[in-house]
């Protein structure tokens, strides 16, 4: 699809379903990531971004959640079908993930250094000292002060941001080909955030690491993404190059989202929001899942809209795109 | 060769003057020689004393002692040693033998190997006492040196000498080369191993970890007999088991069972002693109704073991004024005793007794019994060679172990008379006269007489069972 990026991961029709739940929580999600490319997923909190990432890593909370359908081909292998032992060779090595909640994701019983070094030893087969060295190096790169000392501290002794950076160090320790980062910088202040993002970008430039980043910070998206996928209620509703998404949002949800960003200037009244609540899986509307909250919704929205390309590389799943046209039509 | 003997309990202190357990005596049989010994038929025969004679008035006993005997520490055995031993039994504050040698007023050394005992009154039981712990000779040198701690390292003159003891584990003796009768001894070492569980004790014997054991459970006799690699030996014991009733020992004697002999008779009649023997002991023991087993010459044949008679029991109970009567019997918390009492309970129920059983661990039981805090108590007595030992202390008014506090001057008179006479027939007459009274009053309801049962590896030869339950190793050997 993108000539400049040799394809690294291609996800096709991925669905995740919880036992006893009536609807797919992640529904028919497809995207690709090339080497060195950054795909950002943004979307409503609770729309299934983390589950998508976990599904790729084979780390869904089993047996509660299961991949119901789809393929995810990574470096020629279908992650969904892979057996556990092969998967464990890939995880943390070719493909690594930074989890959203750093406190509970770190083992409270081991020092941070141990936990990072362990990943190194597992995949690189180096000795203890070398692994520790690498761990220190990674902590330093993640801008943790007094890295040597922090190696021997336990997660609870670190601040929220430090834990998050420890997670980042852990994920990057083996120079993965694909990095999945689930809100990697939420707990970081902007200066450190910038440094961490630079570190990741460096890695991408040097080794062609593909990055799947989940974030809510549209500033970060704007600065790092090559392409952006917008998710709503388990589906990708819009996908395209970063510039297109920011400057030409097509899906009403994307539009609403962009409209909610606070400006950095002096405050000017209340923030804009998208009214209403996401429907529960039980009450998920049959067609377009956003239709219950969409001001542009019409009868056609009862049909599930397909993700259709409306500009090169820019696809949207809305029966009513482009909006101006449809609104004008309605008015007419 | 080593001989390994399984004991039912761990003996207490190994000092003949202080010890008090039955198993302790089994160890002494190999460790300490006595002045005299008994035959399986309970006749007194020489051991360290080669001969003896009574004076006319029965107040002087002269003994000739064996020559060339030494104690394990090399101290020679002679008249002085005997004197020292009697002195120790009488005067060591911890001595438990005081009552047994109370009748001796003086010991005179009449020759290097002759000694003369003077008594205040004639004492028919003295020789029998000399056949037991009171007659065991310990090395006077060692005894003087160790004092009350002699038991930690006992020095006697028996066929084996003490090597080591580990509590609850083993007592090791080794052959004493200078033993006067060394030729009769064919083991280099004897190891006594206390193994309380009867099943396990037998299993050990079967596994070859033991060569013999004492007190095989009656219920195991059949299977042991069926095992070709084992032999079983038996001897009816000198002791008895029965129910001691509180007739005058404090408050709790005030109940129909304690106050009315008819009730006690009814209870006795309600019990089928043969069935007990069959059910609980698979017929291995001897039913009984007197302090001596029916096989004993002292047994009073006028009062044979009664047949069970429920009707008569009921009638007696009715006569005493009861249709049903609730009584409480305490029993030691060991399975066999409990089983016994449950059988009694079931039998008595048919005659109108509602027996409430209270299981107590032995120390509590004993304490309650002496303190009179009981109605009836199931206890027994291991038995003595002389009949006096089985009856006098229990049924005379001031008897040391008279826990029922039964007291009848006539019985006292008769039993005391039996003590001071050396004439067997005369003694028997006294005992029979007392029996006539006691069979009526029935402060103790006798039930049965245990049989000592030994199981031995078939490799052993020459073992002779004795009614006192001891294991004498003279003449015993591996085939």
């Amino acid at each position: 699809m993108h000539a400049e990026h040799p394809r690294l991961l291609s996800v096709d029709g991925l669905s995740v379903r919880f036992r006893h739940h009536p609807a797919n929580i992640v529904d028919d999600v497809s995207f690709t990531i090339g080497a060195g490319e950054t795909l950002c997923i943004v979307g409503e909190s609770g729309c299934g971004k983390s589950l998508t990432a976990l599904a790729l890593m084979g780390l869904l909370p089993k047996p509660a959640a299961q991949v119901a359908a789809g393929r995810a081909v990574f470096e020629g292998e279908d992650l969904v079908a892979l057996d556990e032992s092969r998967m464990s060779d890939i995880r943390g090595n070719r493909m690594a993930m930074i989890f959203q909640e750093p406190m509970t994701s770190l083992n409270p019983a081991f020092t941070v250094g141990d936990q990072i070094a362990e990943a190194v030893r597992r995949h690189r087969g180096v000795d203890r000292a070398a692994a520790r060295g690498r761990a220190r190096e990674m902590l330093e790169q993640a801008r943790i002060p007094a890295a040597e000392k922090r190696l021997d501290e336990y997660p609870h002794q670190l601040s929220g941001g430090m834990r998050q950076r420890a997670m980042i160090a852990m994920a990057l320790a083996n120079d993965p080909a694909l990095l999945i980062a689930d809100e990697p910088t939420t707990a970081l202040d902007v200066t450190i955030q910038a440094q961490v993002l630079r570190l990741i970008r460096q890695l991408q430039a040097e080794r062609g690491t593909g990055l799947l980043m989940i974030t809510h910070d549209l500033g970060v998206v704007a600065e790092t993404a090559d392409r952006v996928a917008v998710m709503y209620a388990g589906r990708i509703v819009e996908e395209g190059p970063v510039a297109a998404i920011f400057d030409d949002p097509q899906h009403p949800y994307t539009i609403g989202l962009m409209g909610s960003v606070p400006s950095l200037g002096r405050r000017s009244g209340r923030l804009e929001t998208i009214p209403g609540l996401v429907p529960t899986p039980e009450a998920m509307p049959r067609g377009c899942r956003f239709s219950t909250r969409c001001p542009f919704a019409a009868a056609v929205c009862a049909e599930t809209p397909a993700l259709t390309e409306i500009a090169p590389g820019h696809r949207v799943a809305c029966a009513r795109a482009p909006i101006e046209l449809r609104v004008a039509e309605d008015a007419a | 060769a080593d001989l390994r003997i399984g004991l039912q309990e761990d003996p207490d202190v190994l000092d003949p003057d202080q010890s008090r357990t039955f198993v302790g005596r089994i160890v002494y049989a190999s460790l300490c020689d006595k002045l005299v010994d008994i035959t399986p038929g309970l006749e007194i025969i020489p051991q360290l004393a080669t001969g003896w004679s009574w004076s006319e008035d029965g107040k002087t006993l002269t003994m000739q002692l064996r020559e060339g005997v030494t104690f394990h520490d090399g101290t020679p055995f002679d008249a002085e040693a005997v004197k020292a031993n009697i002195d120790r039994s009488q005067n060591l504050p911890e001595s438990r033998r005081k009552s047994e040698v109370k009748s001796i007023t003086g010991v005179e050394v009449t020759g290097p190997h002759e000694v003369q005992f003077s008594l205040a009154d004639p004492d028919a039981t003295l020789l029998a006492q000399f056949a037991d712990r009171a007659g065991m000779m310990v090395s006077p040198t060692a005894a003087a040196a160790a004092g009350a701690d002699f038991g930690l390292n006992p020095v006697c003159s028996g066929p084996f000498k003490f090597v080591e003891r580990i509590q609850q584990d083993r007592i090791v003796l080794e052959k004493f080369a200078d033993y006067w009768n060394a030729d009769a001894i064919s083991f280099d070492r004897v190891v006594f191993l206390p193994i309380p569980d009867t099943t396990v004790r037998l299993a050990n014997l079967r596994a070859g970890d033991l060569d013999m054991l004492e007190r095989l459970a009656a219920t195991d006799v059949a299977s042991a007999k069926g095992d070709a690699s084992l032999q079983v030996e038996e001897a009816v014991s000198l002791g008895y088991q029965g129910i001691t009733v509180n007739v005058a020992n404090g408050e709790r004697a005030n109940n129909p069972l304690g106050q009315d002999a008819r009730v006690r008779q009814a209870l006795s009649l309600a019990i089928d002693r043969n069935v007990i023997n069959q059910v609980v002991f698979e017929g291995a023991f001897a039913p009984g109704n007197q302090p001596f087993p029916p096989t004993s010459p002292w047994y009073d044949t006028r009062f044979p073991v009664p047949e069970r008679d429920v009707e008569k029991a009921k009638a007696l109970l009715k006569e005493a004024g009861f249709d049903r009567l609730e009584i409480e019997v305490q029993v030691a918390n060991n399975p066999v005793q409990m089983q016994l009492m449950q059988v009694v309970q079931a039998m008595a129920a048919e005659a109108g007794f509602d027996i409430k059983l209270t299981a107590k661990e032995f120390a509590t039981l004993l304490k309650d019994q002496t303190a009179g805090d009981y109605q009836a108590s199931q206890v027994g007595w291991s038995g003595r060679v002389d009949p006096d030992g089985n009856i006098h202390q229990f049924q005379t008014c001031n008897g040391g172990i008279n826990d029922s506090k039964y007291c009848d001057p006539e019985v006292d008179r008769l039993l005391n008379a039996a003590r001071v006479s050396n004439d067997t027939a005369e003694r028997k007459a006294s005992y029979d006269a007392a029996r006539a009274i006691l069979a009526e009053a029935m402060p103790i309801i006798y039930l049965y007489h245990q049989t000592w049962i030994w199981a031995l590896s078939d490799k052993l030869d020459g073992f002779v069972p004795y009614p006192d339950g001891m294991i004498r190793l003279e003449g015993v050997s591996f085939k």
Partner: protein, 370 residues
């Protein structure tokens, strides 16, 4: 703005990180001599580098951990001296939103119970009323009332954060301290929550203390801001003044590092702070920031600058605060690109037109429920 509701005086916290068999233990000076006064009804923001002690400060503010030195005063009364009972009663007024939402929720309680808990603790309402209020609270943070019967692990990160917010609001607090309360929320929910907090402020004079990294949100929400660096407050003042003309070099570095939500708006991350973050167990002498400060002079390595008044309610701890070159304020970019803004206008019109319409649809969706 009336007097200070919350005040700190010389607040310090040291953590022992390593206690050797002999010798002195290693300590982290997490908070070092902080003096703050938070006024009733205002929104006070704390920003600063990760690990600079913000959470520790916040925990001390509500008395969850004891200060190593200094005092916290709530309405003029010292907190550490309060007896248990009053402390508990005070907690009704003083609520906290945890930075880590998941670990601060009891995994064995349903969301409904969790949110109801503060009301139960303070004996507010009957069970029925509480239940209803729980539903309302959940709706206010963008969760569904049905969620009340689910357990924390069944939620996404952002949803958990909202549970934390709902819970903190449940007792109707007077002061709310939020440790990164909206960091995991998507912008629209974030906006919803921020709006709600503002409503509450307006109606009930709620005082807010917010720790956050999203400077746009801070600028939008808060009245005053304190900037922390390595355990110390380096600058405080009204939010617009600080944002428009940061006095401390660290504040400047922060402002320069804000990512802009428009592709290509900032070609590279040029302005990021260089140099290693100092070791908090052995903070540099003099001005703590001097190791990374582009303007540092010799004096900065020796002398610790005090937090000095600059007028207009502003204070900054920098020797050079008056000598620094003027801060080139970036043109206040819009929150959205022109294309997005255009589309959003459409949305807005459609929305106001179709209000009733939308409502109808929601109920319809509700009815399809089995």
């Amino acid at each position: 703005m009336t007097g200070a509701v919350l005040e700190t005086r010389g607040l310090e916290k040291r953590f022992v990180t390593h206690r050797p068999l002999f010798g002195t233990p290693t300590e982290v000076h997490a908070v070092n001599g902080v003096d703050l006064a938070i006024h009733e009804g205002e929104t006070f923001a704390i920003v600063g580098e990760s690990g600079c002690g913000k959470s520790t400060l916040a925990r001390m503010l509500i008395g969850l951990i004891r200060p190593s030195a200094g005092q916290v005063l709530y309405q003029g009364r010292e907190m550490s001296g309060l007896p248990q009972k009053q402390m508990r009663a005070l907690r009704r007024d003083l609520q906290f939103i945890f930075q880590d939402p998941f670990s601060s929720l009891n995994p064995r309680m349903t969301i409904g119970r969790l949110v109801e808990e503060p009301m139960r603790a303070h004996g507010i309402g009957t069970p029925g009323e509480r239940r209803e209020r729980v539903g309302r609270l959940l709706a206010r943070v963008g969760l569904r009332p049905e969620h009340a019967d689910r357990y924390p692990h069944e939620f996404s990160g952002g949803q958990r954060q909202r549970i934390g917010i709902a819970r903190a609001l449940a007792s109707g607090p007077k002061v709310l301290i939020g440790d990164e309360p909206v960091s995991a929320l998507d912008v629209s929910i974030q906006a919803q929550v921020v709006n709600m907090l503002e409503d509450l402020k307006e109606e009930f004079g709620l005082t807010l203390v917010v720790i956050a990294h999203d400077l746009a949100v801070i600028r939008h929400m808060s009245d005053r801001v304190a900037v922390m660096y390595l355990g110390e407050v380096v600058e405080t003042g009204p939010v617009d003044a600080v944002f428009d003309a940061p006095a401390h070099p660290y504040t400047r570095a922060l402002m320069g590092a804000i990512p802009v939500p428009a592709p290509g708006a900032r070609d590279s991350v040029a302005a990021i702070l260089e140099g290693d973050v100092p070791n908090p167990t052995a903070p540099p002498p003099g001005c703590r920031f001097h190791t990374r400060c582009p303007f540092a002079v010799a004096r900065c390595t020796r002398e610790r600058p005090a937090l000095a008044d600059m007028g207009g309610g502003r204070r900054a701890a920098c020797h050079l605060r008056d000598e620094l070159p003027a801060f080139d304020t970036r043109a206040p970019e819009p929150g959205r690109t022109p294309g997005a803004a255009r589309r959003f206008e459409l949305w807005r019109t459609a929305r106001s037109a179709g209000q009733d319409d939308r409502h109808r649809k929601t109920t319809q969706a509700e009815e399809t429920q089995p």
